[in-house]
Symmetry: C2
Subunit: 400 residues, 2 copies
């Protein structure tokens, strides 16, 4: 048996960031920047008003001063009206400050207050004298032209996309999202809505893996189910066009373990016994076309655990993420439970600010898919621990 | 001025869960179940083997017993071979346990070990006697027929979808995702890739809001930019087909505040001053067609803060989520900063396990979009606080 760390190290060594590609902002959500985005201009682009009010020469705008309103500048206007002594210009939030002004008197600091009309008034009385520069947002205060708006390596969420648009950029360079194919193997599998005869069970791994792949930021290119029939699996693999193929089932020591039979020798995939529970039988390798192949065990909880421990970090690395692991926190065991000797237990669990406990009282079997549905995390128990006692600290891999 | 809580209460009072609709599992990811899913059958469906090995009558399978292998049951097989005294059946993981067997001897606990051949051997020697029931997964151990697999109100992530498929269900009842339209207003707005003349700025709110809406689990139906022109905004609203329309800009006291002009009176939207910074001018109401209208201020940081505080909880409530708020944690201020008197500060921030600090040293202006890009959270500072001192506890709204 090898450790989780040894198997993962082999995977990550063979896993490379995907090429960087150009991408429009509208399609870039969730991807990782592959190059710095620099601003085309200073942000803000020009001195502008932070308030609805009056642009003034501050030396004129003493308390009690009566100023003549000579112009009206709306947001978006390209006007730059001259302001003489004793004059003011009505200005709206975001509008360019006239070159002659050095301060803004907000509406509420004039005799007319905020009851505003479409037409600017003829004159105003200043109630509170503005300091020079008051209520002016300065050109370049947020960022100068050429400054890095969002750095390479950042995930493009709403706020990053907003900053990039503000920097005048609509096309960015990103690592493309991994393209992933899923193949569920097993002659016992039928569609969930079917009517199973003796020995048949519903196929559920493709829906689990499809959703997990998408939540990791990758794209599903195909999902297929094949029987324990080597030629059928070979055909399915030959038809697969993806960066990664995730197979489930048929990876153990059984007589009909089709994945091991097809991928074990000829295509350079290594099968290992990994010291974890569930998820002991694991295969990984790089196929001829450069496609990564993950061969996971077939039971749902094994698939879920294997995905989190091995597949997701690889997908995140391909997509360019700096952080590829799930966050882990320490909580206190809210119950006692057993853990297999010599294997790391990956147990479906629920947790709150204080405690963690098994998701159900049903045990830790790899086939207990209903208990998986109740879980929001995996408790990760070291290989040397055979029993977790209530009150002991436990590592929690946070998933939901 | 009204408080954040008062404005949000008005919004949530007018916000209803969307109707429940049937949905195939393949399209259900991220949605919220509107009815319990009950299992069509016991899970597991039948007693099956947890190991590759030999199904035996435990009273015969003493240590050292030599058993004749009379049949071979693969996963998916519907065979139920008879097992007489002194006999065994080779069986693979997941295959149905023959009716005559009451235990499984794993491959590695026989004289032949795990070196398995396609053809079953003629006989085996048992090395370790199995207890009655050993390595058998019992029918219904995980869930009985008719039991609730996933309860109404659950978000359908990978694990829940897997449990539902295992329960034999491919069609579920969910709350549909909110359909959201976005309208950015302002005569100053041009496309980010354009060449601004004096007074013009790039439009960035639509990309921010589109991404934020999608990350909240909702669907964008349209995104438009309109000038400060009431007839144009009326036309844009009339053309909008959505559950929610989010407008940005034009919601304050300015002379050309088009959103307030169009929606203020005739269509029953209420505009308020909310005691927060940024985001003071807010509008909300229900339009004739039942469409919710959020009227947010125009600056990017204001839009981001308003979305998190007011829009996202409403979208989550419509989608059926039990928890509609972002998680909040307490951290220690890693720097000192000022906060406006009488208004709750919503400050772009970064945080780790111990401290929180402003995302940049540039200040808290609502136009500082580049600082927003560096943030992963909002620090939420009470209205009565005018200065946060280094070392004080601070509430952090966790976003990324």
């Amino acid at each position: 048996m090898i450790t989780i760390e040894e198997h993962l190290a082999g995977i990550l060594q063979a896993t490379h960031r995907l090429p960087s590609v150009p991408c429009g902002l509208a399609d870039a959500q969730g991807l990782v920047l592959a190059a710095n985005v620099t601003s085309r201009w200073p942000v803000p682009l020009f001195d502008n008003s932070a308030m609805d009010g009056y642009a003034v020469r501050s030396e004129d705008a003493t308390a009690g001063a009566i100023l003549t309103v000579v112009a009206d500048v709306a947001a978006g206007s390209d006007e730059d009206p001259a302001i003489g002594p004793g004059e003011a210009v009505r200005i709206m939030t975001g509008a360019a400050i006239p070159s002659d002004a050095d301060a803004v008197v907000p509406l509420e600091q004039t005799d007319l207050g905020t009851a505003i009309r479409a037409e600017a008034p003829e004159r105003i009385t200043v109630l509170v004298a503005p300091a020079p520069g008051a209520h002016i947002r300065r050109r370049g205060q947020d960022a100068s032209a050429g400054a890095v708006s969002v750095a390479s390596g950042a995930r493009l969420g709403p706020w990053q996309l907003s900053a990039i648009a503000s920097a005048g950029i609509e096309q960015v360079t990103v690592h493309r999202a991994p393209r992933v194919a899923i193949i569920s193997t097993g002659s016992e599998l039928i569609a969930p809505s079917g009517t199973p005869r003796r020995g048949q069970i519903p196929e559920s791994n493709s829906v689990l893996l499809s959703a997990a792949v998408r939540e990791a930021g990758a794209i599903i290119t195909s999902a297929a189910t094949v029987a324990d029939d080597p030629p059928a699996l070979r055909r399915a693999l030959d038809a697969t066009d993806a960066d990664v193929v995730i197979l489930s089932g048929g990876a153990s020591v059984g007589a009909f373990d089709v994945v091991k039979a097809v991928l074990g020798e000829e295509r350079g995939v290594r099968f290992s016994q990994v010291a974890m529970q569930p998820g002991k039988p694991q295969g990984f390798g790089v196929l001829d076309e450069g496609m990564l192949a993950f061969c996971l065990p077939g039971n749902p909880v094994s698939v879920a655990a294997s995905f989190e421990v091995f597949v997701r970090p690889a997908l995140r690395q391909m997509a360019g993420f700096a952080v590829i692991d799930r966050p882990r926190v320490i909580r206190t065991a809210g119950a006692a439970w057993t853990s297999p000797k010599g294997r790391v237990q990956i147990l479906p669990a629920v947790f709150d600010d204080e405690i963690v406990r098994p998701a159900t009282s049903g045990g830790s079997g790899s086939h207990l898919v209903t208990s998986l549905a109740a879980a929001t995390a995996f408790a990760v128990i070291p290989a040397e621990t055979v029993r977790v006692e209530e009150g002991e600290p436990v590592t929690v891999m946070v998933l939901a």
